[in-house]
Subunit: 434 residues, 2 copies
């Protein structure tokens, strides 16, 4: 492998839908996934929604000969659900927990408890340093009225920040996972344009899979097609993205997805389809620069302008979220004040006959206690909500501040402001000032 | 500046103790800090405990001519309290929130509400990319029986991870802040040895400040000397750390600290002393390699072995924390079960006469309701605590997994396992395999 200039790298990604006792045929599906992985021997396997560590350990045992290296990322209450298996040694692992991830009281959606995050492992492939990322963003439950949109935009923002800042020394970068973003969604554009990551589906030379590369398909028996409406056939929300560097150029030779059913098995691997990408790495002589860099020099200014537009759009979305969060916090505060007023009123009603030394209370004792309990419950709940919304407001404000800073910095560059080093952080517009 | 090979960089750090209405002379002290900063014109100012954004904005206005660039990091409920002012343009900002940071019910300690984090800003100094970090770790309230030690060790672990992984492309790295760690504390050794950051106090050519560089001194009127016991004079917990790269070598020309009192003012700037470091940057010709790299080649194996020991020590500390968190979670679960049993018992007592169609209850109505409320309160509290402790357990397990992986990787390298690229991530042991 080290002798040749070309290295083949096979990457696999699947959202396993592995909620023990709740997901249908969970155990059987894990057995099928284990079989598939040990048979196919991908170089890198990136799984999401492996909610139980026991299932991870079970897979780890099964894959001990084909994938001796693995890492399970832990986060939140039951998460992060992300696991990676590798044929190449993992040298380092790092986890970034998103600052926003839904609401704990939306327990039926469960995202908050999953502690969504982006995990990074650093592997050596031959003499190349590969930074491999796996993530799972907040689900979209209603596209028309998506109350989680600001959270997902902030997650996409933090994802691109994390990848940009931690991949400076990487020879190649791979990101896979369930982004819960359609190909042209704001978060997706933000991620791809800012990091320069390329989508294996649009870049592949050969594709074998569902129409339009969809990974959540109506034909999947675990899916209620009504939930996909208005996308009758399905949606594409799972991705394998990649980029090379000055030392390596990457081509996606082929990409395949499962198609809802598995031969000789009564049901598919998961409610999502699995992705499998064959990447070809071409090591370049130092300082040569990849084709992708040279080819993109001309449109660097265009890319910058596009980025300014996208970040501005994201900022607007975050501002909408900020407005909502502030309104919710205000509502919590107002309800808390009303609870407090009711409690004081009740205490006053109780105090008047007591001060007048009358033994009998003006209203029934049971109602009196119940009302007291209600007031306390309101006070505690609104207090907790107020704390939670304050944290949400802070996180949204923080993201908005960072976006404002980024837009300012990008605009300075557009104006030809003399900048040096940090430009190489923006891989899509590399070497603009050379 | 760009013509010369030598650049002078002045860095300032101060924990401002800026809790509005609670910290003594808060407003006056901010005015003094603002005066100091606009007079001294440091290149980079890194502040901690600026808890109110209003105070940040006030400082920003005051420093608009001397420090036109600034960023305020937001996190948690009232935090993160970290602010940076710069004479050089800030291009990018990124925040990493520590996964563990005390307990919300320890409200009198307040750390949880502060949302402790590490903030990074990227600046251009001439043609050099400076990655500047500011942080504030969890306070130590009792050194003998420090229940927050595992949290602080995990914070130090995440801090070194964040710096290592985000500084690959940096020409120089600066970290300043209130680490709440003594110079030889585990977290401090972990941070310095893993990142290769150098302590300006031990490295400086000239020092002007308190004895032993202490930054929390008994002479400070805002400090109760008893709290410093057994360190009669004080402790050193605030730092300015730095490192260069293959492109830049850094020397600390001088370091000074305030000494508890300020001429012409009745009280000091804060309960902490301020640090001010004069760094001299020497740009090197490409590929030359800094003296620090060459000089350390011989002891690379020794450094690796030291690092293995330190990470192993940290892992032990995290395991102790894990044991405590699991015990606390078990206690919460057991108390919850007892609350539930009590509630069921009460309902049974209430149900018996009701089923027997008797109108009178066997025990007083008031006690009955109060007991019910108590049971509910126990159930809700233990449920919330259970969720919280589960998150703590997950975070500790995650850190321990990462440490295990790191020790394995370091030991492989010690055994001379053939590794390539990722070694350059370990700056202190750079070029060991060249």
């Amino acid at each position: 492998m080290a002798d040749s200039n070309t290295i083949r790298l096979r990457v696999f990604s699947l959202n396993c839908w592995g909620i023990r006792y709740l997901s249908k045929h969970c155990r059987e599906r894990y057995a099928m996934i284990g079989e598939l992985l040990s048979r196919e021997e991908h170089d890198i396997v990136l799984l999401q929604e492996v909610w139980s560590e026991k299932d991870f350990l079970c897979l780890k045992r099964k894959l001990s000969s084909t994938h001796p290296h693995s890492h399970y990322f832990k986060s939140g209450v039951i998460g992060s659900g992300m696991a990676t298996f590798s044929r190449h040694r993992i040298h380092d692992a790092f986890l970034y927990r998103y600052s926003l991830n839904g609401y704990p009281y939306m327990a039926h959606h469960g995202d908050w408890f999953g502690g969504k995050a982006v995990g990074m492992v650093i592997l050596n492939i031959g003499r190349l340093a590969a930074h491999v990322y796996v993530t799972h963003l907040h689900a979209e439950y209603c596209r028309e009225k998506d109350s989680y949109l600001p959270h997902r935009v902030v997650q996409a923002w933090e994802l691109q920040q994390f990848i940009r800042h931690t991949s400076s020394g990487a020879d190649l970068v791979i990101l896979a996972g369930d982004l819960n973003l359609h190909p042209q969604d704001l978060g997706n554009r933000l991620l791809r344009t800012y990091t320069g990551l390329r989508d294996s589906y649009t870049e592949t030379a050969k594709f074998d899979g569902c129409e339009d590369g969809i990974t959540l398909i109506a034909d999947n028996p675990f899916i209620n097609p009504k939930e996909l409406c208005p996308f009758e056939k399905g949606i594409r929300i799972d991705y394998i993205l990649y980029k090379g560097s000055g030392r390596v150029s990457i081509q996606c030779e082929s990409l395949s997805t499962t198609k809802g059913s598995v031969p000789d098995h009564p049901f598919p691997y998961s409610d999502h389809e699995a992705l499998s990408a064959d990447l070809q790495l071409q090591t370049l002589t130092q300082q040569a620069g990849g084709d992708e860099t040279r080819g993109e020099q001309d449109c660097a200014a265009g890319k910058l302008a596009e980025l300014v537009d996208i970040v501005t759009e994201a900022r607007t979305e975050v501002k909408v979220g900020l407005y909502c969060a502030e309104r919710m916090r205000y509502t919590a505060a107002r309800t808390g004040v009303m609870g407090m007023a009711l409690l004081l009123l009740e205490l006053a009603i109780a105090a008047v006959p007591w001060l007048a030394l009358r033994a009998d209370q003006p209203f029934p004792r049971a109602s009196f206690y119940l009302l007291g309990v209600l007031c306390f419950a309101i006070l505690i709940t609104t207090f907790l909500l107020y704390i939670f919304y304050t944290m949400e407001v802070k996180a949204l404000q923080g993201a908005e501040d960072q976006m404002r800073l980024a837009v300012g910095s990008l605009q300075e560059r557009l104006r030809g402001f003399p900048l040096a080093q940090p430009l190489n952080r923006l891989s899509a517009v590399e070497s603009v000032e050379d």
